[in-house]
Subunit: 337 residues, 2 copies
Amino acid sequence: MPTRTGRYTLILNSCPSVVGFAAVASKKEAEGPLARCFDIVNEDCTFGESTWEKAESRMQQVVVGKALEKAQLSSTDLDYVFAGDLLNQCTGSAYGLRDLGVPFLGVYGACSTMAESLMLASLFVETGCASRAAAVTSSHFCSAEKQYRYPLEYGGLRPPSSQWTVTGAGAAIVGQSDAAPYIRAVTAGRIEDLGIKDANNMGAAMAPAAASTIKQFLEDTQTQPSDYDLILTGDLGQIGSDILYDLLRRENIEIAKNHSDCGLLIFDREKQDVHAGGSGCGCSASVLCSYILSRIRDGELKNVLFIATGALLSPTSVQQGQSIPGIAHLVHISNTK
Amino acid sequence: MPTRTGRYTLILNSCPSVVGFAAVASKKEAEGPLARCFDIVNEDCTFGESTWEKAESRMQQVVVGKALEKAQLSSTDLDYVFAGDLLNQCTGSAYGLRDLGVPFLGVYGACSTMAESLMLASLFVETGCASRAAAVTSSHFCSAEKQYRYPLEYGGLRPPSSQWTVTGAGAAIVGQSDAAPYIRAVTAGRIEDLGIKDANNMGAAMAPAAASTIKQFLEDTQTQPSDYDLILTGDLGQIGSDILYDLLRRENIEIAKNHSDCGLLIFDREKQDVHAGGSGCGCSASVLCSYILSRIRDGELKNVLFIATGALLSPTSVQQGQSIPGIAHLVHISNTK
């Protein structure tokens, strides 16, 4: 049973493990610094499918299959799958996982979905609601551009503050085990909206939510940023990260030394023309479920705060002049119980 | 702590209560048989807002406020809110609840969202993850038509199998209490897809999922349909309900005598020109959180199986020739612990 500490944080006393994890990515991600970390790379973005949406569904299907394979499990070993994505009506998940035969709980947290789904899967295992539960999330550059911005053929110019949607997916299977990585605590975020209306500056829209959730977790647990090897947001990019530092400094919290962002890790901004960094549900999912969880498992990282951030806008809400609500959920992942 | 019974059902041993509930609806719903049951009715569908999407957000804000008021609680008494809707990127929930200041967990299950969110809120209370959690869901005829079908001004003809999206919202607040209604058990559904491709026949697409989840729950709990006063699906409409009976009869399960459907309860099909019945996340939400929960509280209904059904399609998936995956989640609600 979890223990509530402070106002909003739950300590998972059984320390559920991530018993299997996998990441899928595409050509551009495989040209970046994490190229060797992904389990599967598809060179042409289609994953053998005829549309971008079907390609995204295929990624979800493939990534959960790979995570199960690495954990030496089959789908019948899963009690629940928590999944979501950026496509309208979350069809990346629904179509990708429709043949899995596992009770399906769809979640939507925009780019915070990996943290939300991992949090719910971990709480289900912690509380005995599930023996094992999977968290699966994806995004696809082409399906996202077409849906949120312009047809690809239009060749719209991207301002410097924009981020590049990652074509990738991640899956984490949570269960009870005596092997790291362990899920130690979770903090669900509140919606924060400081009035940013520029849909090409998602980092700025999401930074206040990340600051709020990080501050809340540190207060609740009475810990300091220096207690963690890595405070990993995903995906604020460069502009959002800088705003996050500023917002937290106003609260006398300094994280710059041990902070990184999934959107900055996955691409080489000097060489890859991604402007402010990577984004999309699949960004934090594919970085967490490859490079990060491997390093926690291997003891290279001892204590990581994973804070996936989401911008809860839609193209319609932007057209109607609404500002962009942000959200950030936190999962504390550790090498030790 | 919950007990797993059978393969997929969780028994909630603490029997969390629905400590507050409310429903909001609009003019057409208030002309139907449940007119007197809704807490708030807005006559002109706009809820004082300038767009349909903002109107839907306003409904979510209003309905959770009303449920809190009826429970004599404030938002600070809530540990989590689980919410979702049909709008792209679930903006009905995100914008409606952004000022609530409560940790926000977005869910997406199309029209099954009320059952999914109520299930998660109940499990959070059962397991001590939350003292109180809210489940909130909405739909709006105008925002749904515009997004899924045609501009309203086009006046597209609707085939007889089509259903009418309810303009309504429901909120249920779950906590520990010695007053009914009590949440006794939950069964999360698996995605079922028997190949229906007609987006104007959602009932047919969702019926297999409802049949699968009902059969699973009865098997898991070793109970019969006659053990329940009401088996309430939402929202199969007339065509989907008939298919559900047929599918279950193949399994020697007969539910027609004590079955009803939220999409059939909310409108008078003879007089209201809604074709096969009501639909939308707000259909099962507004029926459950008014007429049904009141009758359980008052002892007129002793044991209800609430099975909200969702069609996990998008306009894009239909245009790409994909069939429609369905899902159904079940919550057993009772007058006694």
